[in-house]
């Protein structure tokens, strides 16, 4: 994906889209966690360790969902501030063109206040955008941190799966794989978001 030429408001919208995808995967992860819990109960005492891990998987999924929602809000706010800034820039360009064309007009100074006010609005919008962008980057970093924990969870789940009976081991291994795959997919969307913002 090459976002280098995208306008800032497009980038923020892309991040919102990526985070939406990540959230969908996290929702599936909550179902995986619920299935894991049921399976660990069925597998009995040998799967006690796995049972404890299911709680962590569920917490991780909910964390990702909560932060994704927050990041999505930040991305939308950022996109809105940025697109409003772009519209304001267009107005400033048009004012400048009008000024150039009306240098000898008797009332040319009458729109200078509007021009100055619009410049102030632009500065304010750019400040808003930078603030939202910073928040966005911070929250993306937080999800990335949580996901590092997901890989540890998947590995531990695989280890725990080896301790249960053959009958349940395969299902628990599948769950561990699902956690790993979900974490990789979410990670991919987060990295895309970070790359997009950095480009």
């Amino acid at each position: 994906m090459n976002n280098a030429n995208h306008q800032t408001f497009v980038k923020a919208a892309i991040v919102a889209g990526e985070l939406h995808q990540a959230m969908m995967v996290a929702h599936k992860l909550t179902i995986t966690a619920a299935n894991a819990k049921v399976l660990s109960i069925k597998a009995g005492s040998a799967a006690a360790g796995f049972g404890a891990l299911t709680q962590h998987i569920d917490e991780l999924a909910h964390n990702v969902i909560d932060i994704s929602k927050s990041v999505n809000r930040a991305a939308v706010a950022s996109s809105k501030a940025s697109s409003e800034a772009e519209r304001t820039k267009i107005a400033l360009t048009q004012f400048s063109r009008a000024k150039q064309r009306a240098t000898d007009a008797p009332f040319v100074d009458s729109f200078l206040k509007a021009y100055n006010d619009t410049q102030q609005t632009l500065k304010s919008l750019q400040t808003d955008y930078q603030r939202e962008l910073k928040r966005l980057q911070g929250e993306l970093e937080q999800i990335a941190g949580d996901l590092r924990g997901a890989n540890v969870l998947a590995t531990m789940s695989r280890v725990e799966a080896t301790l249960v009976s053959h009958e349940h081991a395969s299902a628990l291994r599948d769950i561990a794989d699902n956690v790993a795959t979900a974490a990789d997919t979410i990670n991919h969307h987060i990295k895309q978001s970070q790359l997009c913002l950095a480009s």
Binding site: R97, A98, K99, A105, F107, S110, F111, A114, D117
Partner: protein, 245 residues
């Protein structure tokens, strides 16, 4: 952009703006109108985004921008009012008068400072510094919610798309040869005007008005006898026809 004063009295002046030589290609040429009273001004069908800078530059040759306290949009088309979002940044205290039907649509062009005054289907009037202007219903000519502006003192009817002609960009503002001009109007009216019933009702309505100048949003201004000739021609024309230009 060409600016022409088309009426001047003690109470107010009418201006037409158009024929901008720097207009980008492939966008239809438009006429914008302004009534300037003692302390205020009404800008009618102020035009599209592409014309904003030229319009603002032309307007401040005649009045200070903060005197533009009223805007009018005959309907919702982009060549009529897509510049609204830019005027919104230039006019902190203006009111836009436009058909009630289009409020939710026109606001898409961007309106944070300008307020919307919805015109009823039956029309209405606006008084500015003692000058009374009437909003004349022109529904389905061509938009389903559509008004024109009539000035009984100046005897001017700003007729939106009615009387419009597809002319070349440097065309004069006056009609020199009515019969020749008809060729430039026929397709426009047949294709863009959807209803013979609406057309006939409008003709009936404006025939009651004393009109010395009929000012369309595209093409040229009708003066004197040309107004009646137009109404007769329009009355005979079948509209709502898809055909080749």
């Amino acid at each position: 952009m060409l600016t022409r004063e088309i009426f001047n009295s003690n109470s107010h002046r009418w201006f037409v703006f158009g024929r901008d030589p720097e207009k980008p290609n492939k966008i239809i040429d438009t006429n914008q109108y302004m009534v300037a009273t003692a302390n205020n001004a009404l800008l009618m069908d102020p035009g599209g985004i592409e014309l904003f800078a030229a319009m603002l530059a032309s307007v401040v040759r005649e009045v200070p921008v903060d005197q533009i306290t009223h805007l009018f949009a005959s309907h919702q088309d982009p060549d009529i009012i897509s510049s609204l979002g830019l005027w919104d940044k230039a006019l902190p205290n203006a009111t836009l008068h436009a058909p009630w039907l289009w409020e939710g649509f026109i606001r898409h062009f961007g309106m944070q400072q300008i307020s919307y005054s919805a015109i009823d289907d039956d029309g209405g009037q606006l008084e500015i510094d003692g000058v009374t202007l009437q909003f004349i219903p022109a529904h389905y000519l061509h938009a389903s919610g559509n008004h024109h502006v009539y000035d009984p003192e100046a005897k001017i009817l700003m007729s939106g798309d009615v009387g419009a002609a597809l002319d070349h960009d440097e065309a004069p503002l006056e009609i020199n040869d009515f019969d020749e001009h008809v060729k430039k109007m026929t397709y426009f009216h047949q294709r863009w005007m959807p209803s013979n019933k609406a057309k006939n009702e409008w003709i009936e309505r404006v025939s009651q008005l004393e009109i010395e100048q009929m000012c369309p949003q595209h093409g040229r201004i009708f003066k004197g006898d040309q107004v009646k000739r137009f109404l007769d021609w329009f009355s005979d024309l079948d509209v709502g026809i898809v055909g080749n230009p």
